[in-house]
Symmetry: C2
DNA sequence: TTGTTTCATTGCAATATTACGATATATAAA
DNA sequence: TTTATATATCGTAATATTGCAATGAAACAA
């Protein structure tokens, strides 16, 4: 099938999985790390620093933008991409809440 | 293609994306939340509580187990699954380090 | 032994993802 | 206007993922 049955899960479960899915490719992780380190902000620089073709990077940027985690700013013929602080922060809260749960003490495993 | 070019990314970037990918499906998020809440630990209970077929749940459990995030314990004819505390903890450190980076102050966006 | 229960594995169809060449679009420069 | 540069979009091939019916394997009960 290749199609997740989202209707049988909670909104929270679907939201966590959507955020996680966008981090589920090393190119998108690399793009975000570059934006965090600010050694590139312009789309073309990302294409040069990461070794993928320009349409591929553009496609990954689009997915990050669709989730609201980055935003783009046109500057002449080039586009500057940056982390969207507010949206990143609320995503972070949701993900950390999931990751940082207390692990129950069981005797079965 | 459908194939990530992992050789062009750092080990850290690949590791983050592998962990994220396993959280990229709501069924696996749901399984983990059940294990955190301890209202089910036995594979068959998970099948009942989540609405997917038994082979599907079994496959998702396998992926979580392959990454070391859960471990299973055979009890008679049933199997008890639990979070692997140590591995979860080290995964958590890696993911939170990625999520909790300082966002640079730029004037471009 | 035979049957039952529980879970894993296999095989396959449907869909999603990834990557990139070709091309379109938009801005700036000449 | 023409040309160059930068990015987005389209189309498509290759591969991955999801879900489940059918089946297998293992432990227990009768």
């Amino acid at each position: 099938m290749g199609l997740a049955k989202t209707e049988m899960f909670t909104d929270e479960q679907n939201e966590i999985s959507l955020f996680a899915k966008v981090f589920g490719h090393p190119a998108r992780v690399a793009i975000l790390q570059h934006l965090f380190e600010l050694d590139s902000c312009i789309c073309g620089d990302l294409v040069n620093e990461i070794g993928l073709a320009q349409p591929t990077i553009s496609q990954h940027l689009k997915e990050l933008k669709q989730l609201g985690l980055i935003k783009g700013n046109v500057e002449g013929t080039s586009v500057c991409y940056c982390i969207d602080k507010d949206n990143w922060s609320s995503m972070k809260n949701i993900m950390i809440k999931f990751l940082d749960q207390d692990i129950p003490n069981t005797d079965c495993c």
